[in-house]
Assembly symmetry: C2
Homo-oligomer: 305 residues x 2
């Protein structure tokens, strides 16, 4: 796998005709009846979560180019969850999806190298297949270049990518990212991310770097300014759906063309079976609810291309 991440992503977006990414954030308390846990063990809980996630992946795979899977929801079950996490990455890739591993790791350089080994490098172990390695990871860049470069080196060597947090979706993060007045902190992070991904050997044929940014859409003027400021940076756009974002709010992220952004929705898709509008139509067929929600999401985002 040496084809550039951003090119592979752009191809997948063209193939699926949408830039929608489904996020796998499964919590035990919200699993549908067939996967509701029967025992209070982490091992069993991990199996329930994995079984549910596999069904979700199977049903959304034909509709979207990529999947985002969040480590937190698996770490809750310690090693049992972590084993399921890597099996799911492999399964999603086997289903033809690109996989973004949402880990938001960020530590000093010597430690970042070890995180990179576990999460983005070709595994140096015979009992871990490269098919368990995601196509991209999310990172926290707040510890500076040394926290990010070990990932970038491994990613660029293997056709993989990274997305560094620049403007998170949670409004509670604004107190940090709007710090600094006229030139706020998120612009400073954007400048660093631009710099970390600027080397020509990091940029693919379509003009996008393997160093991307997580950019939640806020007001469209500032989103457009950020998009302009990061011409070669692929964006991962959170906040759609359960977090209140709309396709219209994401439009400014697509100003640089189809390969330049993907929009993630997690809870609004994978828990669609909780919503009256889907239940009325599909009853207890929870997978049909998810499929319909995914179809609507994919179509909504397709309108941005």
């Amino acid at each position: 796998m040496t084809h550039h991440y951003a090119d592979r992503l752009a191809n997948a977006i063209e193939h699926k005709r949408t830039a929608a990414v489904v996020g796998i954030d499964p919590v035990l308390e919200r699993l549908p009846a067939p996967f509701a846990p029967q025992r209070r063990t982490a091992e069993h809980a991990a199996r329930c979560v994995e079984g549910f996630a596999r069904e979700v992946i199977r049903v959304v795979a034909p509709r979207v180019p990529a999947l985002k899977i969040n480590s937190a929801f698996f770490e809750a079950m310690h090693e049992h969850g972590v084993a399921a996490f890597y099996r799911l990455i492999r399964f999603a890739r086997e289903c033809g999806l690109l996989v973004i591993s949402d880990i938001k790791r960020g530590d000093i350089g010597s430690t970042a190298a070890l995180y990179a080994r576990g999460h983005i490098a070709d595994p140096p172990f015979e009992d871990i297949s490269a098919s368990c390695v995601p196509d991209a990871v999310t990172l926290a860049g707040y510890l500076g270049k040394n926290a990010v470069i070990p990932f970038v080196e491994q990613a660029s060597a293997s056709g993989r990518g990274v997305y560094v947090l620049v403007r998170p979706s949670d409004p509670g993060a604004d107190v940090v990212h709007d710090f600094g007045g006229e030139r706020p902190f998120y612009l400073h992070m954007a400048e660093l991310v631009r710099e970390w991904g600027a080397a020509p050997q990091l940029v693919g044929e379509r003009g996008f770097s393997c160093v991307g940014a997580v950019v939640a859409p806020k007001d469209s003027a500032s989103t457009a300014a950020l998009r302009d400021f990061l011409p070669h940076t692929p964006l991962l756009v959170p906040g759609y759906g359960a977090q209140g974002g709309t396709a219209a709010a994401c439009r400014a992220c697509f100003a640089r063309g189809a390969g330049g952004a993907v929009v993630n929705a997690s809870r609004s898709v994978i828990y669609a079976f909780e919503k009256p509008e889907y239940r009325e139509q599909f009853g207890d067929d929870w997978l049909a609810c998810i499929d319909a929600a995914c179809a609507g999401f994919a179509e909504d985002i397709a309108s941005l291309l």
Copy 2:
């Protein structure tokens, strides 16, 4: 375990007469001969790392009040490493050490709740013992209050604590933390951390909150100013030893008394057997090298109390 974290830590510091914390950052390539890996599997690698770490923990336990264990070095071996990580937390606690789990997690609120379940809450699973839960974790607070509060709620309810990154040790992090000119970003983070830990029910008998801060010593004037600014915040001080910090540089962190700070050293202790000064004295007895380095470190930090 409902006794307040900061009080338990202060008691442990008094009992061991030092505020030195040993950091467990084991990389496969640097393990001493008895634990050098014989096969290229993650399962075997995790056993080697765990075996080494257990010996280190056993030898340092009588000398220091607490241990810091960094998740990155175990995640590199996927679920095998993660299982070892939790067994080591348990083992260190059985050896009478307080354990700080260095995870630096930070994500939006709904996700942070799941990270908290895996890393600081009493486990809701019958097959995970509360003895695998550390006494404190490190956090990245850059996604704001919602990223931290789920941890604080779980920690305060169970006599555990958190340390939020305020001023990391890596000089490469300065480009982020010195941002903003006269009132730099790290002071902004310090203000947030102070606020998150200020509620009276979060403060223990000794006057310290269960919400601490990671504060690397830079110039002593700014360190002293930060210590003053955070009167109720226990500090975790990185950067000593391999990263170049000295006890003198850490002195300003102790201005609020013995319970107010701990100093971590990782590589300078656990890889002491690589250094000529210890090899000359102890030859191939790598554990004696570690013991001697730990004794020196503990004594050096004891001078600050």
